[in-house]
């Protein structure tokens, strides 16, 4: 498994899952909170990735 995107998605899934379960008690709230967090992780990673694109190391 070498795809950075897949590794990023799995990482975001686990972190969102744990935070959602810690922060919320109700199942629907956990799903909503975790989903928003997961989407936020992915969106911010993609946006930052494209913003850094013109500046290779």
């Amino acid at each position: 498994m070498r795809s950075h995107l897949v590794l990023l998605v799995i990482f975001a899934f686990f972190v969102s899952l744990i935070f959602a379960v810690i922060a919320k008690d109700d199942g629907r709230e956990q799903l909503r909170f975790g989903g928003m967090m997961f989407g936020g992780f992915l969106a911010s990673a993609l946006v930052l990735g494209w913003l850094m694109y013109p500046f290779p190391l």
Binding site: M1, R2, H4, L7, I10, F11, F14, V15, L17, I18, V21, I22, D25
Partner: protein, 130 residues
């Protein structure tokens, strides 16, 4: 003012609860009857830790001369018993040339830190704050 016997018993139980919660991810929540939360922690955190090892991440040594390495070691230790199992079995050496090395480190460190958050959550539940 001296603590009463009941208070001492309660604080002793709290210490045991936090230790159990640290050693086995989710054990604190299972102890407190939060079965679904405990099971999610019990499965998700060791899986994340194992993925970190599979991605050639490194379990950092306690090197106080390198502050960041020392902090990473403390974070790695946060996962509890799985850390000792991995080190006993010889995992966590880290392969710095592997493409996934940094991802592995991130998985290992964050799994440990998340487990420490779970310990704090179990403490809050036991104190009746949640």
């Amino acid at each position: 003012m001296r603590a009463t016997a009941a208070e001492e018993t309660q604080s002793g139980t709290l210490v045991l609860l936090c230790l159990a919660s640290w050693a086995i991810p989710g054990a604190g929540h299972l102890w407190l009857g939060r079965r679904s939360k405990g099971l999610i922690f019990l499965i998700a955190l060791p899986v994340m830790f194992a993925l970190g090892l599979a991605l050639q991440g490194r379990l950092f040594p306690f090197d106080l001369n390198e502050p960041l390495v020392g902090l990473a070691a403390i974070a790695d230790l946060g996962i509890g018993v799985p850390y000792f199992i991995a080190t006993t079995l010889g995992y966590g050496g880290g392969e710095v040339r592997a493409v996934t090395y940094e991802y592995g480190n991130a998985y290992l460190i964050v799994a440990g830190l998340l487990n420490l958050l779970v310990v704090i959550d179990a403490f809050d539940v036991a104190m009746g704050r949640k």
